[in-house]
Amino acid sequence: MTEPIPTTPRAPSASDGTLEPWEVFRQEKDGDPMRHGGSVMAPDAELAVHYARELFGRRQESVRLWVVRRADVLDLDDPDLLQPPLDRSFKKPGGFVMRDKLAAAREAAGQSKPKGRPG
């Protein structure tokens, strides 16, 4: 059986007045990405939205809010999956780090570093 991706399990909602954290994402103006603004404590979804509105919207600083129960967030922080020990620089947009290899090749060919594109 395939091992499930190791996110934290979701806790059932208490819904008995117990406070729990809710994460709030806000959009500053139309077209902007949703950015994490912070969190609020609330006993249920309705009050969570109220408090999100007050903490992240009362000064007209947001045009949209997303409110997510923290327990519903899939949390992945496994270092084997996110920070493996081998070099992964070839996966970066820049590819392999070529600086040292280029310098060695130029030295072998007796050329100096180009000074930039002509005119």
């Binding site: 406070l19 404590m41 609330a42 309705e46 009050l47 109220h50 408090y51 509105r53 007050e54 903490l55």
Partner: protein, 268 residues
């Protein structure tokens, strides 16, 4: 625009009907004082509300009410050539014209919720009766206030439902608060001196006594569903609904005028 066409435009406008200034004064004063007093009263929760988030919410709601008071005092000041700060801060306690509903002191959380519920629902009925009014400065302001009050109604409805559904001490306290406030709820609709002039001028859609009936009809379904006491249906008997404020308001007044009185005439 040339002076000729401007003259023409003015000539084509219908003659401006004369404003019923004394009645408008009474109306604006009652509304501004209501918003000012409930704003000051509820801001007493700042720092001690049940949880941090609610502390911020209640403080923010109180600031909204003070903002509405500022706008209404500003309108009144223009009408009577007065000063908004003088109106807000330089009167004696017995000169304020807020509804007696707001004269019970801060009380516990249930008292605050009960008072806000009765006031917000009454204010909504009042704003609706003014929104289409013939005096553009007030009708315009009321339209803006109503948009903010929409959130206030959501907030207070949420809390009323929760305290009512919680049972136990929370529900007991809510019932006690609603019983204490019941007869004073309708003081928001205390008849205003000269209110017939406001109705005739098309500024106010209906007399206060009729608005009181609309208010009872508006809140009855919710209170009945939750099994909570309804405000009595007897009309407000006399004009004392907006005077005779009593000791809790004298204390609140001494708080909100304290800084102003500490250095009279200072520019802040």
């Amino acid at each position: 625009m040339t002076s000729t066409s401007r003259d023409l435009a003015e000539a084509e406008e219908p003659a401006e009907p004369e404003l019923p200034v004394p009645a408008l004064d009474a109306l604006l004063r009652s509304m501004a004082d209501d918003e000012f007093v409930i704003g000051c009263s509820d801001s007493e929760w700042t720092g001690i509300a049940p949880i941090l988030e609610e502390d911020i919410a209640m403080s923010s709601l109180s600031q909204d009410e003070l903002g509405h008071a500022t706008a209404l005092y500003g309108l009144l000041a223009e009408l009577i050539d007065g000063d908004p700060d003088v109106l807000a801060y330089d009167r004696e306690p017995n000169e304020y014209r807020h509804a007696r509903l707001l004269d019970h002191g801060r009380g516990d959380w249930a008292m605050t919720i009960a008072r806000r519920y009765l006031y917000e629902t009454a204010d909504a009925v009042r704003l609706e009766a003014l929104a289409g009014g013939s005096w553009a400065p007030l009708a315009g302001l009321v339209g803006k206030m109503a948009r903010e009050e929409r959130y206030h109604a959501m907030h207070i409805g949420t809390w009323l439902e929760r305290l009512a559904a919680a049972g136990g001490e929370a529900r007991d306290r809510l019932e006690a608060a609603l019983t204490t406030l019941a007869t004073d709820g309708a003081t928001v609709f205390t008849p205003l001196p000269g209110e017939d002039d406001l109705v005739t001028a098309g500024i106010l859609a209906a007399p206060m006594s009729e608005l009181a009936d609309r208010w009872r009809a508006a809140i009855s379904p919710t209170l009945t569903r939750l099994g909570l006491p309804l405000p009595p249906s007897s009309p407000v008997a006399d004009a004392r609904g907006r005077s005779d404020h009593g000791e809790p308001f004298t204390w609140l007044w001494s708080e909100f005028t304290m800084v102003r009185r500490s250095d009279p005439g200072a520019a802040w």
